[in-house]
Amino acid sequence: MKGLVAFLLITAGTLAASLAVARTDTSVAGWMATWQVSTLWAVVGLVLITAGILVQRSGKAASGEEARVGLAGLDAVLGKVVGEVDRLGEAIGTLELSALHARVDEILTGPVTDFTEGRQALIDVFGVGSYAEVMGPFAQGERYLNRAWSASADGDQDEAETYARKAGPLFREAHRKRGELGTQGAEA
C-alpha cells in the first residue's frame, strides 16, 4: 500500500513539476503573468515528489523484516554456489571436457543467476557499501566461471580447469564477506 501511495505521489509530482517547467518560456506573451503560477506548480510538484520519497522510505523501513527473510534465502543460495564450485574444483582432473562444460553451465544458470537476481535483499539490509564488499569478489568469480565456460566450449581443457579452480576462492571470499556483515543490518 505504501509503495502504491509513494508511486502515485512521485508520478503526480513529476507531472506537475514537468508541466510547470514546460511553461517557463520567456518568449510567450504574458510571461510575467505566468511566472508565479509556474513556480507554484513547480514547488507543488517537488513537494509531492519529496512526500513520495519519504513514504517510500518509511515503507522500506517497515519492510525490513521482509528484506531479512529475503536475505536468508539469498544466504542459502550463496552457500550453494560455494558448495557447487568447491565440488567442481575437487572433480577437476577426473571430468571430461564436455562434462566440465555442463557442470559450469549448471552453476552459472542455476545458483549464480539466482544470487544475482536476489541481490536487492543485501542492499536493503546492509546498504550499498557492504553490498559492494560481497558482490565484488562474487562478480569476479562469476567472470572466471564464464571464462571456464568459454574455454571448455572452445575445447581448451587446461584453460577451463584453471579458471574453474580460480573461481572457488573468490566465491569463498564473497561468502566470508557476507559472514562478516552478520545479521543485524546496517544502521540507517
Partner: protein, 592 residues
C-alpha cells in the same frame, strides 16, 4: 578435445580482422549516418563476421578471440557517431578548419572516453548489473558455439526475422502492390505504423510506432526496468505536448495554422506542433533530467566508486595478475590527452592560450561526467543521449569563448567521440564479462586502435563533401549536423532554454533520490528520444514481463534472450548491406 598452447585471446588474426572490419564499418556507417541521421554500434556485425571468418574460415577462433575482434572493430567504428554529429557542421556553416587538428582533438576525445569509463566498470557491470542489451546480445552471438543447438537456432531465427523485416520495410523496392491496413495506405511492411491516424487522434498526439524489431529486442532484454522509459515517453508526448497545445504554450502561428486546416493537412500541422514541442519543451527538460538524475546517482554511488578507485590504485601491472589498467596509467593518459586537446584547440580555434586551456579543462571534465551518464543510460536501456549531451558542451564552450564557433565545434567533436566511446567500451566490457574475457586485454586493445576511427571518418566526410556535397537539398542531408547547426545558431541568437535545463535537472535530481536505480536518467532519456522507437521498446519490456510471469526466469535466459539477441543483430547487418549497395551504386538511397 584438448588444445595445446595458450588459450587464444589477443592474436594477430583477431587484431587484423578487428581493424579491417572497423575501417569498413566506419566508411559504411559514415555514409549511412549522413544519409539517414543515425549510426549503428557495429559490435554485433563484427561479432557475426568474426565468427564466420575466425571460426568458419580459419577454423581456430575462440570465443574470447572473437571478443577482441569485435572490441577493436566497434571501438574504431563508434567514432562515427561522434564525428557525423559535429564535423559536418563545419562544412554546413562554412567555418574554416584544419582536419588534422580536428582529428587530433577527436582522437584525444576517443582516448579520454576510454580512460574515464574504466574506473566505472566495476560499479556498472559487477555491482549494478546493468543489462547493456547490445553487449548481452553480442555475448550471446559469441557464445553460440557452446550454447547448444537450440540457443543458436533461436539466435539465427531472431536475426533472420529482424533482417527480413528491416529489408522489406527499408529498401526502395515495393514487394507486391501497395495495400491498405485498416484504411491506412502502406506498403507490404511499412517502416512505421501511425496508430494515431488509424484511431483518428489529433496530429499533435504522436502515436507512430516504428516497425523496429531492434527496439523490441532491446526492450525484451531490458525487461521491467525499461518500463520507466515508456512512462517518460508517455509523459512527454501524451501529457506535456497535448497540454502545451491545448493551453497555447506553443507559437501562435503554428496553432492558428493547425486550427485552420482539416483532414490530412490538419494531421500534418498537428505533427509540426508535436515536433516543436519535442524540440523546445520535452527535449531540453529531458536533457536537464538526465544530468540531474545522473549527478544524484553518482553521489549515491560514491562509496562504491571510491572503493573501485581504491582497488585501481593498488593494481601493479608488473605482477602479471592485473585485470585492469591501474589508476596512475589512467591519470597519465588523461593528462596527455588534455595537452593534445589544448594544443588542437589553441591552434585551430584562434583563441588565446588561457581560453584554450579553460575550454580544454572544462570540456574534459564535462566529457567525463557525460560519458558516465551515457554509459549508464546505455546500460539500462541501450539508448544513448549522445547528441543532447554534446549540445550542452557546445553551448558551454560558446559561452566560455565569447561565441567562438570553431572552438565549440572542435571541442564538441572531441566530447561527442568521447562519450560514444564510453558507451561502446562499457558494452564491450559487459560482453567481456559474460564470455570471461580479461578486462585489461580489452582495455589495451581498445586504446591501441581507437584513434583510427576519427581520422578515417574525417577522410570519408571530406571525400563525400567533394564528390556529392551534403546538407539541405542534397541526398546526404546530414540531419544530425543540421540539428547542431540550428542549435548553435539559436545560441548565437541568445536563445538558450536555461530554465528548462535547470528545471529538468532539479526534477531529475529528485527522482534520483527515489531509490529506483537511475529513475531520473531513464525518464529524462525517454523525454528526449523519438516516441516511435520508445513504443516498440516498451512493448518488448511488457512482453518479457509477461513471459517471465508465465514461464519463469530460466526460460527467459534460455529461450527469450537468444531470440531477442537475434532481433538486435539482424537489423545492423542489413544496414551495412544497404550502405554498401548504395555506395557502390547498385541501389538508390531510400526516398529517391
Amino acid at each position: 578435445m584438448k588444445k595445446q598452447g595458450a588459450y587464444r585471446e589477443i592474436t594477430l588474426p583477431a587484431i587484423l580482422l578487428g581493424v579491417g572490419l572497423g575501417v569498413l564499418l566506419v566508411a559504411c556507417f559514415t555514409y549511412a549516418g549522413l544519409l539517414i541521421g543515425f549510426t549503428i554500434g557495429g559490435s554485433a556485425v563484427a561479432a557475426i563476421l568474426g565468427f564466420g571468418i575466425l571460426r568458419g574460415v580459419m577454423k581456430k577462433g575462440t570465443i574470447v578471440e572473437n571478443n577482441i575482434n569485435q572490441t577493436i572493430a566497434s571501438g574504431i567504428n563508434i567514432a562515427t557517431a561522434g564525428i557525423i554529429f559535429t564535423v559536418p557542421a563545419f562544412y554546413l556553416m562554412d567555418v574554416a578548419f584544419n582536419p588534422l587538428l580536428v582529428g587530433m582533438a577527436a582522437a584525444a576525445g576517443a582516448f579520454l572516453g576510454v580512460f574515464f569509463i574504466i574506473p566505472i566498470r566495476k560499479q556498472m557491470i559487477d555491482l549494478d548489473r546493468l543489462r547493456f542489451p547490445t553487449g548481452t546480445a553480442v555475448a550471446t552471438v559469441l557464445k553460440s558455439p557452446g550454447a547448444g543447438v537450440e540457443k543458436s537456432r533461436l539466435l539465427l531465427i531472431g536475426a533472420g526475422i529482424s533482417a527480413v523485416v528491416y529489408f522489406v520495410s527499408q529498401f526502395p523496392v515495393k514487394f507486391g502492390a501497395e495495400s491498405y491496413l485498416l484504411g491506412v495506405h502502406t506498403s507490404l511492411i511499412p517502416a512505421a505504423i501511425d496508430l494515431g491516424e488509424i484511431l483518428h487522434l489529433p496530429g499533435f498526439i504522436d502515436n507512430v510506432w516504428a516497425v523496429s524489431l531492434f527496439s523490441l529486442g532491446a526492450g525484451f532484454i531490458t525487461g521491467r526496468p525499461g518500463l520507466v522509459v515508456l512512462a517518460g515517453g508517455i509523459l512527454a508526448y501524451w501529457v506535456i505536448t497535448p497540454v502545451a497545445v491545448s493551453q497555447a504554450w506553443v507559437p501562435a502561428d503554428l496553432l492558428q495554422h493547425f486550427h485552420a486546416l482539416t483532414g490530412a493537412e490538419a494531421r500534418a500541422a498537428g505533427a509540426e506542433l508535436s515536433e516543436w514541442a519535442h524540440g523546445n519543451l520535452n527535449r531540453p527538460i529531458g536533457i536537464g533530467m538526465l544530468i540531474g538524475g545522473a549527478m544524484t546517482g553518482i553521489a549515491l554511488a560514491a562509496p562504491s566508486i571510491r572503493a573501485a578507485l581504491g582497488s585501481l590504485r593498488r593494481i601493479d601491472l608488473k605482477g602479471g595478475d592485473a585485470e585492469e589498467l591501474p589508476l596512475k596509467t589512467l591519470w597519465f593518459g588523461i593528462g596527455i590527452c588534455l595537452v593534445v586537446l589544448f594544443l588542437a584547440t589553441y591552434f585551430a580555434a584562434g583563441i588565446g592560450p588561457g581560453r584554450a586551456l579553460l575550454v580544454s579543462v572544462v570540456g574534459t571534465l564535462w566529457l567525463g561526467l557525460a560519458g558516465v551518464i551515457v554509459a549508464q543510460a546505455t546500460g539500462m536501456t541501450d539508448w544513448s543521449p549522445i547528441s543532447g549531451l554534446t549540445l550542452i558542451s557546445v553551448v558551454i564552450i560558446l559561452a566560455l569563448t565569447d561565441k567562438s564557433v570553431p572552438a565549440a565545434l572542435l571541442v564538441g567533436a572531441a566530447v561527442c567521440v568521447a562519450i560514444a566511446e564510453c558507451a561502446d567500451m562499457m558494452q564491450d566490457l559487459k560482453t567481456g564479462h559474460l564470455v570471461g574475457a580479461t578486462p585489461l586485454k580489452q582495455q589495451i586493445m581498445e586504446l591501441s586502435f581507437v584513434w583510427i576511427g576519427p581520422f578515417v571518418c574525417l577522410a570519408v566526410i571530406a571525400i563525400l563533401w567533394k564528390s556529392f556535397g551534403f546538407g539541405p537539398g542534397h541526398d546526404l542531408s546530414a540531419p544530425q549536423a543540421q540539428a547542431l547547426q540550428a542549435a548553435v545558431e539559436s545560441v548565437l541568437g541568445g536563445e538558450v532554454p536555461w530554465p528548462k535545463y535547470l528545471g529538468g535537472a532539479v526534477i531529475g535530481g529528485m527522482l534520483g533520490l527515489t531509490g529506483v536505480a537511475g529513475l531520473g536518467v531513464l525518464v529524462g532519456l525517454s523525454m528526449y528520444l523519438p516516441l516511435a522507437y520508445i513504443l516498440p521498446y516498451g512493448l518488448g519490456c511488457v512482453v518479457q514481463m509477461g513471459f517471465q510471469r508465465a514461464k519463469g526466469v530460466r526460460w527467459i535466459e534460455e529461450k527469450g534472450v537468444p531470440f531477442a539477441a537475434g532481433l538486435l543483430v539482424g537489423e545492423p547487418l542489413i544496414v551495412l548491406l544497404q550502405s554498401i549497395l548504395i555506395i557502390t551504386g547498385v541501389i538508390l538511397p531510400p526516398g529517391s
